[in-house]
């Protein structure tokens, strides 16, 4: 079967893209065999036959531009540019690396079951996470998720804020999201939980599969079906279930900011988490206006401008003030009747 020399015709057909299964298999065999001098010779001949000085395609132009930028930085601060490049990567990787490191350290100790890890997603950010069992999801800005480094009998995690979960199915080991007011119990499915400390309601939206809602005493309250929203009003201690389009509640994981006929007070809460700013609504009449809109990659200014076009409101951005510690406070936006 194995030929000593690669069939030149086969290789040409492969290079030109018009090749048969046998052609592919033989080319592959030559690529895989340890030191195939013959293959190298053939490729070298191919290489030498190609002409230089051809115009770059779009992708390569962008690449050259990137090289150029790195080099310029380099000439400004010798030896820093590549370092800076890696620092940027390191900043993004930092949390996962840290978690992996702690996991590795704790695995070697005997107390691993009690070790908890917490992921904080800073305001204005959305953080993707993967749990020890392979379940994954997104943590919205200003939220935190706490979980044991090693899951024991149950897979229990604690959530404050909002997260979207895609749970890996395990029939013997239930996955439970605990919030202050309720617990969501699942076997394997995807769903969204919003339990912000500053909101008077907790809601769970089920995308697919089945989940159970337990109360604080771990008693079963309700079993949800896909595209349902379970909302618990914490002030009245009342639960309602409604039909929704689940994807509109999970679209934040893809960077969409969506308002589904919500009053200004809710809109402002979402905006303040998304953009890390404070709001003050100075006229109560405004709170009753509802908004329906979807934004992606929009500046806060632009969103405010669009809202003010459809509502009798005006807004102004207050200068950032210094607080006692000498750091700047969050930007504040004042909303008034027009």
């Amino acid at each position: 079967m194995s030929e000593k020399k690669i069939d030149r015709e086969r290789l040409r057909r492969f290079v030109n893209g018009n090749y048969s299964r046998t052609d592919y298999k033989q080319v592959k065999q030559h690529f895989q065999s340890g030191a195939d001098e013959n293959l190298r010779e053939e490729l070298k001949e191919h290489w030498e036959g190609l002409s230089a000085n051809q115009p770059l395609n779009g992708g390569l132009e962008v690449m050259l531009e990137r090289f150029r930028k790195n080099h310029i930085k380099k000439s400004e601060a010798k030896g820093k540019s590549i370092l800076r490049y890696y620092q940027r990567i390191a900043a993004v990787l930092f949390i996962p690396v840290l978690l992996a490191a702690s996991l590795w350290i704790f695995r070697t100790t005997k107390y691993q079951e009690n070790i908890m890890a917490t992921i904080h997603s800073p305001a204005g950010a959305r953080t993707e996470f993967v749990l020890p069992d392979g379940s994954k999801g997104w943590l919205n800005g200003g939220s935190q998720l706490t979980y044991p480094v090693v899951f024991s009998e149950h897979r229990d995690v604690e959530l404050e804020g909002e997260a979207y979960f895609e749970v890996v199915h395990r029939s013997q080991q239930k996955f439970r999201v605990k919030t202050k007011a309720l617990t969501v119990q699942v076997l394997g499915t995807s769903f969204n939980v919003a339990a912000y400390a500053d909101e008077s309601a907790v809601n769970v939206i089920l995308q697919e599969g089945k989940v159970q809602i337990l109360n604080t005493e771990d008693q079963l309250t309700y079993t949800m079906n896909p595209d349902e929203k379970f909302e618990l009003d914490l002030l009245k201690n009342e639960a309602t279930v409604s039909q929704v389009d689940a994807s509109s509640y999970t679209s934040w994981t893809k960077g969409f900011l969506r308002f589904d006929g919500e009053p200004l007070s809710e809109v402002v809460k979402k905006l303040s988490r998304w953009y890390h700013v404070d709001f003050e609504i100075r006229d109560k009449r405004l709170q009753d206006y509802n908004f329906k809109a979807t934004f992606k990659d929009e500046q806060l200014d632009e969103i405010l401008r669009l809202i003010s076009l459809t509502t009798p409101l005006k807004y102004r951005i207050e200068e950032r003030k210094l607080n006692k510690q000498g750091t700047y406070m969050k930007k504040k936006i004042i909303i008034e009747w027009q």
Binding site: F14, V15, G17, N18, Y19, S20, R21, T22, D23, Y24, K25, K28, F31, Q32, R40, L43, K44, H46, W47, E48, L50, S51, A52, N53, Q54, P55, L56, N57, G59, L60, M63, L64, F67, R68, H71, I72, S75, H169, S171, L187, G188
Partner: protein, 198 residues
Amino acid sequence: MKNSIRNIDSELLISLQKGDHSAFEKLFLKYGQKLFVFAVSYLKQKSEAEEIVQEVFMKVWKNRERLKTDTSFQSYLFTIAYNSIRKSFNRKAQVNQFKEEVIDQLDNGDDPIDFENNYQLVIQRLDQFIAEMPERRKNVFVRRKKHGKSLVEIANEYDISVKTVENQITEAMKYLKRRFAEDFPGGLLFFSLFLESR
């Protein structure tokens, strides 16, 4: 002719050794596209070929102080490119191994389906057909064929019986065969007519 090219290159290389960015740019403009065309012939994917170009030129920049200015820069480029392409090719072949196996299993020689010619298209279609399977069947099929999971493992993961897993895979293979029969009617025309009239 060849000699003069070499001379121009070695002047550029001497500048590059001193950290001259414009020399680097000139080399990129000269050989970037050539490298891309070379790499894409074997890797068949634009993004992968571009990665090779980036990898090779990053090496050139990194090793600029140690570059030999008296030997051909072209053969130096070729050597790095050859090794990178080979590595990338083998990695990809490994990942796509299961597709090859699925095609080999589908091809039992009885059906008038042409799996042999136009192999690049056959593999593309296989990707498409798998993507179009119903969600559950696709997951079971991919876990079995691509990830090499056992029937029992898959049954446990989805909380279904081993028998159901088996059925899903049988159905998936039947479905693939049907799709291929539609798109790649090979062999004798008589046979395909016969198949349709049934």
